[in-house]
């Protein structure tokens, strides 16, 4: 296993194109445990953190750009970013301990393609786009098109995510992310729920609901979104949101939770996240 | 004579007797006497038991501990710790 620390995107693409077993990494917070547990080692480890473009967060002309290897602690510490995307910020802040937060990144969290990745439901709820670089140049795709299944992405061998783009939310729009873990910290989500709402005088005018850890990939819940739009988030609406979220799940039984548990709690978290997002949007 | 108290698992070898009078100046002598009276009981008392004399737990594996003429001797399941 050889380590390489390219300083440009082209250099990194070149390393990937030259060796099919090369692998990019940012925090390695998943990669190192995977290698320790016996996954085959990549031939070349391509460290993306020395490429300037991959580290940083900023807003310009109504679009936020987040480098794919930016430590999530940078995002949670950025007051302007957190003000614009409170749910996305809190989801980013839930990826592991403070130690992990200084290593983990959206790029890694997304491309590791774990169904339980905390940032991904919030990325989807905010319609975040990924800018992907490869031998054929760059392309921009919605994040939900990156992950195709557990551990599987649509990226070619010579491609990696360079940065993320997300539009500044319209007025009275806010997001929220909740997850269920057995402890208070240091766990992988058993269920995650991201909700983004636009409110107009107490009535919801736009809604996105995305669930994590309840299916092979992040699940959008159109029935919950439909129930929210036009509502004032009264109890009946919230129960409808919960029912729709539970119905949208396609979970598995594993060491972290049962099918029944994930279904039930997905509904609980969806309705709670919707309530928080509405409060934020109304504020 | 000391009064010896046995556990229910000891009683499998003693026809159900759980309390009996035994002559013996030491734990070892008491065990030897019991082993003679009840076939199969010896190994359980020697290797699989702790002993309390008049309520005080004795060092593990003790056979020389003195047993007074009116002592209460309890053979217990083995006690360990963590």
């Amino acid at each position: 296993m050889r380590y390489a620390a390219p300083t440009t995107v082209d250099e990194a693409v070149g390393l990937l194109a030259a060796d099919a077993d090369a692998r990019v990494f940012a925090g390695a917070t998943d990669l190192i445990p995977q290698i320790r547990s016996g996954r085959p080692e990549p031939s070349v480890l391509v460290d993306l953190k020395r490429i300037d473009r991959l580290v940083g967060v900023g807003e310009s002309g109504g679009t936020w750009t987040v480098g794919a290897a930016t430590p999530t602690s940078t995002l949670t510490a950025d007051e302007a970013f957190t003000g614009a995307f409170p749910g996305l910020s809190e989801a980013s802040g839930l990826i592991g301990s403070d130690q992990i937060q200084n290593r983990s990144s959206w790029g890694g969290n997304l491309c590791n393609a774990s169904p339980a990745a905390d940032s991904v439901p919030a990325l989807v709820a905010n319609a975040v786009r990924a800018v992907v670089a490869g031998s054929n140049g760059e392309r921009t795709v919605p994040v939900e098109e990156i992950v195709t299944g557990p551990g599987q992405t649509s990226l070619a061998d010579d491609e990696f995510v360079v940065e993320f783009q997300v539009d500044t939310p319209p007025a009275h729009t806010a997001d929220a992310y909740l997850r269920l873990i057995p402890r208070t910290e240091m766990d992988i989500a058993v269920v995650g729920a991201a909700v983004r709402l636009t409110m107009d005088g107490g009535t919801c005018t736009a809604a996105t609901v995305a669930l994590g850890a309840v299916a092979p990939t992040v699940v959008r819940v159109p029935d919950a979104e439909a129930a929210l739009v036009g509502s004032t988030l009264d109890d009946a609406t919230l129960e409808a949101v919960a029912a729709a979220a539970s119905a949208a799940c396609n979970p598995i039984d594993d060491k972290r939770g049962t099918i029944e548990y994930r279904r039930q709690v997905a509904g609980v978290l969806a309705k709670r996240a919707a309530t928080i997002a509405a409060e934020r949007a109304n504020a | 004579m000391a009064t010896v108290h046995l556990q229910a698992n000891h009683a499998a070898f003693t026809d159900g007797v759980r309390e009996l009078e035994v002559d013996g100046a030491t734990v070892g002598a008491v065990i030897d006497e019991l082993a003679t009276r009840f076939e199969g009981l010896g190994p359980l008392l020697r290797e699989g038991s702790s002993v309390a004399i008049d309520g005080e737990l004795q060092p593990k594996g003790t056979i020389y501990a003195a047993v007074g003429p009116d002592a209460d001797v309890h053979f217990l399941a083995p006690i360990a710790g963590g």
Partner: protein, 161 residues
């Protein structure tokens, strides 16, 4: 030796050079190449914090870094917390408050707590508990560790005013 990379970095304020294979973790390199055995391995997967170090001032698990990633970085370990024979207030309050039993997790807790107090001089109990949630202790139930961090914060703030 195959693929030994030369790494130049700063450790506890001293410039150091070492050689490590590319797949070596920074934890192993610190322990075996530099003899900094105060950095402990409890899990090797970033879940216990016993190997907590600072990298350019930020808290990290040394087990989750490849040694070559340290190139040009400033690394801080438990061995660098005391200034000469002068203990850091956290080290003092851990000792005075019996905030350690077996001591295997102590170096990681001290590094993490120092980062916390450097960034947030007046943390609440809840903030301390979440800031230290990446460090497992199995002996103390955390109670005396939290108290020791609170006491160190008081001492540090008293020293400043």
């Amino acid at each position: 030796m195959i693929n030994r990379t030369h790494v130049h970095c700063t450790v506890n304020g001293d410039e150091v050079d070492f050689l490590a294979t590319d797949s070596t973790s920074l934890l192993d390199a610190l322990r075996t190449e530099l003899g900094l055995t105060g950095v402990k391995e409890g899990c090797g997967t970033g879940d216990c914090g016993a190997c907590s170090i600072t990298v350019d001032g930020a808290l990290n698990c040394a087990c989750l870094m490849f040694a070559p990633e340290a190139e040009g970085r400033e690394i801080g370990t438990v061995e660098g917390i005391a200034q000469g024979d002068h203990l850091h207030p956290l080290q003092e309050t851990f000792l005075e408050g019996a905030a350690l039993q077996c001591g295997i997790c102590t170096p990681g807790f001290l590094v993490a707590a120092k980062v916390l107090l450097d960034e947030n001089p007046t943390p609440t109990e809840t903030e301390i508990r979440y800031a230290l949630a990446g460090n497992l202790c199995r002996c103390t139930g955390y109670d005396k560790i939290i108290h020791a961090v609170q006491e160190a914060a008081v001492q540090l703030n008293g020293a400043k005013s």
